[in-house]
């Protein structure tokens, strides 16, 4: 085996690809070779390291020095100074760096982060099954297949308290037990990687950075419920995710970690990729199932739920990417270990894509129950220009708004709803006080009107009317009574829409009305947009 004294990890996540990391990687390889260091220094492409906004990002080990915004023209200096002479290139090591050394393992940026889901992202080469195995990959599957009964696996997931990270927060162990109990000749595991939520890209970066963790998690789920077939429904635009998943499936099959009789246990499991059909609603589990079956992606009437009657009418588990990525570490380390993170009611971590008016944009994984204040000011580095915080939108459009009043409320799936908000899937969009609430509401409602599939009336008509009313208010044409109408219409949609799209569409409006009513009123009564955004 070759021995290298230094590894240079080049982030190959999509945000960094867009910034030109491939060119940087090629230049590094060429320069290292030109300097005759190619037998000492290894250049590795890895998954998202987190600070996507600072891309292209590279990390040099063993020091763990993180360089940001690296351009091809910086490469000779990095090679000459750092790789040859051992001196950190402070200029590229970022602001606020003391003594010129940023330890990737311990910068303030990662200060309060806990990495369970992202345990391998940015540390391993996602196209190498060996590197995944080096970090205990497939050990959880081995343990399940050789030491545990399917019922024990479900019991362990139940005890861990893991709830679905796709937005609905359904207890994962309980979900699995429905499918396990169902009597059928064929069962399926579906990984929901459609990620249509605006502003969310965490599933994408998990798939790109650690595809094997999804295959392992799905195989464990398959063993637990008695399914031998899995599908990953990936958003069609996620080219790199699809490519890396494809490679991972091939590698796992070649080593016999997917396929027949895994670990001589008699259990067999195969995974196939399906490309998403492009609509937001295709992320809804029954629409997703319709889409995999080759039909138009429209939600089904529930019940029956997929757990008992899903894909091709067979019992089917549908889980989100992040949910599945939690499964191997839970099985390997035990439910008690998992419960050490997060809160009593909601153990574990949450991965967020931090975007908007925030200094450190990117991917973060934090303990469940952390407050918004800590995320913004400790991890996110605060709001640019020292401007004031206005609100945060969690979970993309379908989540809730968190105003100033909720800055210190623990963010988890059960506490936020108590305040009329929701945690949602994984977007965390921060907005400063220059934004107008009515303008934002108009933008959200336009999205729902566009994405409503039209199958049921409350949502088809409701989303259009919500948008219409809010747009009028924004234009300064609002009437007294409009806000009450929004509230009433929203409530009707919440109780009568067929699927989560129509049920969730009013949530942002309702939280905005609850916390920013005066701004709506100013638009209606005074024909005034307090931030000067709308053309009132």
């Amino acid at each position: 085996m070759e021995f290298y004294r230094s590894h240079v990890l080049v982030c190959g996540g999509t945000p960094c690809v867009l910034e030109g990391c491939k060119g940087v990687r090629d230049a590094l390889i060429a320069e290292v070779k030109r300097r005759g260091l190619d037998r000492e220094v290894k250049v590795v492409e890895t998954g998202c390291l987190g600070p996507c906004d600072l891309g292209p990002v590279i990390v040099v080990y063993p020091e763990g020095t993180l360089y940001q915004k690296v351009h091809v023209s910086d490469v000779p200096e990095i090679v000459e100074e750092h790789l040859l002479k051992g001196r950190v290139v402070t200029r590229l090591a970022g602001e606020g760096v003391q003594a010129g050394v940023v330890k990737y393992e311990e910068p303030t940026y990662l200060g309060v982060q806990e990495r369970i889901v992202l345990r391998n992202c940015g540390t391993i080469d996602p196209e190498s099954i060996e590197e995944y195995i080096a970090r205990d990959g497939y050990r959880a599957l081995a343990k399940c297949l050789t030491e545990m009964k399917p019922a024990d696996v479900i019991e362990a997931v139940k005890k861990s308290g893991l709830v679905g990270r796709g937005g609905a927060a359904f207890p994962t162990g309980l979900k699995w037990s429905f499918t396990a109990r169902a009597d059928a000749d064929q069962k399926y595991i579906l990984c929901n990687a459609d990620e249509g939520e605006p502003g969310t890209f965490k599933d994408r970066l998990i798939l790109e950075g650690d595809p094997h963790s999804i295959l392992e998690g799905m195989a464990i789920a398959g063993y637990a419920v008695g399914a031998d077939k899995g599908f990953i429904y990936v958003r069609g635009e996620y080219v790199l995710s699809i490519e890396r998943l494809g490679k991972a499936i091939e590698q796992a099959k070649a080593l016999g970690l997917l396929g027949a009789d895994i670990f001589g246990s008699g259990f067999s499991f195969d995974v196939e990729i399906r490309k998403g059909a492009g609509a937001y609603v295709c992320g809804e589990e029954t629409a997703l199932i319709e889409s995999i079956e080759g039909k138009r992606g429209e939600p089904r009437v529930k019940p029956p739920y997929p757990g008992t009657e899903g894909l091709y009418g067979k019992p089917t588990v549908v889980n989100n990417v992040e949910t599945i990525a939690n499964v191997p570490p839970i099985l390997l380390n035990g439910a008690d270990w998992f419960r050490k993170f997060g809160t009593e009611r909601c153990p574990g971590t949450k991965v967020f894509t931090l975007t908007g008016d925030i200094n450190n944009k990117g991917l973060v994984e934090v303990p469940m129950g952390i407050t918004l204040r800590r995320v913004i000011y400790e991890i996110g580095g605060g709001i640019p220009g020292g401007r004031g915080f206005k609100m945060a939108q969690t979970g993309g459009t379908s989540g809730g708004c968190l105003p100033k009043e909720l800055l210190d409320v623990p963010m988890d799936y059960f506490t936020l709803p108590e305040h009329g908000s929701a945690l949602g899937s994984g977007a965390l969009l921060i907005m400063d006080d220059t934004h107008c609430i009515v303008d934002i509401a108009e933008c959200f409602m336009r999205f729902f009107e566009h994405e409503s599939c039209g199958k049921c009336t409350p949502c088809r008509e409701g989303t259009a009317r919500l948008h219409e009313i809010v747009a009028k208010i924004a234009r300064g044409e609002g009437k007294p009574g409009d806000l009450e109408l929004l509230d009433e219409l929203g409530s009707a949609m919440q109780v009568s829409s067929l699927c989560g799209l129509g049920q969730a569409a009013p949530v942002p409006i309702k939280t905005m009305l609850r916390y920013f009513r005066d701004e709506f009123e100013a638009h209606i009564n005074d024909r005034l947009c307090p931030t000067g955004t709308c053309g009132t």
Partner: protein, 120 residues
């Protein structure tokens, strides 16, 4: 894959590839790579260390470089830092001496006293 032992075997091999990134405390060999060090042949010294480690299949040692420490006439300078032990600094480390240091200090734990210029 039919047995857990197979997986364990792959893991052990593969861990050698990623150990460098784990940030665990291991033995470190630090080679002075200032202009003075390079002029005195530090590149060859470092290459010899790497070769010797590879030949002996030693995976749990980290090799890094550092700048000039102000003892230019002693270059190439090599530090060996074992976890829990004091740092040992060797001076005028030629290729041959470098191989010897790997063999006795790294492998056998025997400091090569006559080449040591500092120990703290």
């Amino acid at each position: 894959m039919k047995t857990v032992e197979e997986l364990d075997r792959i893991r052990k091999q593969a861990q050698a590839m990623t150990r460098l990134r784990e940030g665990k405390e291991t033995t470190r060999i630090v080679v002075g790579m200032g202009t003075c060090g390079i002029a005195a042949g530090a590149r060859e010294t470092l290459a010899a260390i790497m070769e010797e480690l590879a030949k002996r299949n030693i995976q749990d040692v980290v090799v890094t470089q550092t700048g000039c420490i102000g003892l230019c006439e002693q270059e190439p300078i090599v530090d060996v830092i074992k976890p829990g032990a004091t740092k040992v600094t060797y001076g005028k480390v030629t290729k041959e001496k470098a191989r010897q240091i790997v063999a006795s200090h790294i492998v056998n734990g025997q400091v090569v006293g006559e080449w040591v210029i500092a120990s703290a």
